[in-house]
Amino acid sequence: MDRSDRYSRQVIFAGIGKEGQEKLARSTVVVIGCGALGTVAATALARAGIGTLRIIDRDFIEYHNLQRQILFDEEDVRLQIPKAIAAERHLRAANSAIEVEGVVADVNYRNVERLVEGADVIVDGLDNLETRYLINDVSLKQGMPWIYGAAVASYGMMMAVVPGSTPCIRCLFPSLPPPGQNGTCDTAGVVNAVPMVIGSLQSAEAIKVLLGVETMGLICIDVWSGQFSRLDVDPRPSPDCPACHGQYEFLDARFGVRTTSLCGQNAVQVLGASDARLSFDEVACRLSPIGDVDYNEFMLRFDIDGYEMVIFPDGRAIVKGTGDESIARSLYAKYVGM
């Protein structure tokens, strides 16, 4: 099989050319989180001929993922393969000319610098803001660009953060919102077109960053109402942005969700990353369509998937029915939000 023209349509595009294609082949991109956004971005980047792709994810594939996570199929669910490994297999099948490495890991402040080692660009395929702020810290500390992307319900956002050339995510949004303020895919759902558009835009931005092309600014889309906007962000770092001034608060674990297994109780305590207070009325409104909710002014009880979550106004939660901290953290991210 003649494979010499694999990238011909990219090479004849003036913005990339032969030299650009060779540069992509020498590049390393790390995709953190391989769900809706990550599968779309990783697919595009593998097919575009990025020389080395590292795909990091901690989860297994479930049936409800197949609606939008385009790299996976029913066989992957049946075989109970981790997302990172399934992604590696499918991407190798799509392009055997590149290196693909699937890593099954939960990215946190202890391991993030090791996991992104050697990356020319990091692509965000995450489901929570706390880890994104951690990536933002690593990006600024190491001068490593990252491409923020997010998708919920019918809307999404995307922005390339290139240290020295663009503001960072904390310049625009200095603090994490209180848990659950803006909904998650598990409470507000997601139209599959949104991560497909955002993930595709992330892949284009990653390629442009690798080739030294100016990025697009902050993109916001809503596929239901038809709002598409591009905001030119001021390239100057915000004067009071801690991350741009060398204070890596998430990397130093000064903020962030903390979990503690409650010994002998088959329960885990989760401490939220935000110090803002929760509105139980709002939380109950979001959660009642998907599980049993009961609350008073002191606590909100929520039953889901055989687990019981007791949530307090300061964002603290006790997850009962598991002693596994990563499950508790994941349930917190899904239903309370971080």
Binding site: G33, C34, G35, A36, L37, G38, D57, D59, N65, D124, G125, L126, D127, N128, L129, R132, G149, A150, A151, V152, A153, S154, Y155, G156, M157, I169, L172, F173, P174, S175, L176, P177, Q181, N182, G183, T184, C185, D186, A188, V190, P195, I198, L218, C220, D222, S225, Q227, S229, L231, D232, V233, D234, R236, S238, A276, A333, K334, G337, M338
Partner: protein, 93 residues
């Protein structure tokens, strides 16, 4: 001054589903206050109780971040477009 305010998805429960509304004011703060009188609750999502603008919501006037202008005292002109943007989270699950 009459301006157009683009309402982000999470705040549309407060505006009866409207994705953009007209509001009046000479500054961003006045526009938000006017908006809040029409759609109670908007100010609570934009301000942190008496402590300035919420730090997880960005506001742009004609595409410029007001944090780099005069914050909520940024002046607005007839026909300006104000965009309210809370940070969006989802993507992986």
């Amino acid at each position: 001054m009459s301006v157009t305010v683009q309402i982000p998805h999470p705040l549309r429960t407060l505006t009866g589903g409207l994705d953009k509304v007209q509001a009046a004011g000479r500054t961003v703060a006045e526009v938000i206050s006017h908006l809040n009188s029409e759609y109670p609750g908007v100010a609570d999502r934009v301000y942190q109780g008496g402590n300035g603008l919420n730090r997880f919501v960005a506001i742009f006037v004609n595409g410029e971040d007001i944090r780099l202008l005069a914050g909520d005292q940024t002046a607005v002109q007839d026909g300006d477009v104000i965009t309210i943007l809370p940070l969006v989270a989802g993507g992986r699950r």
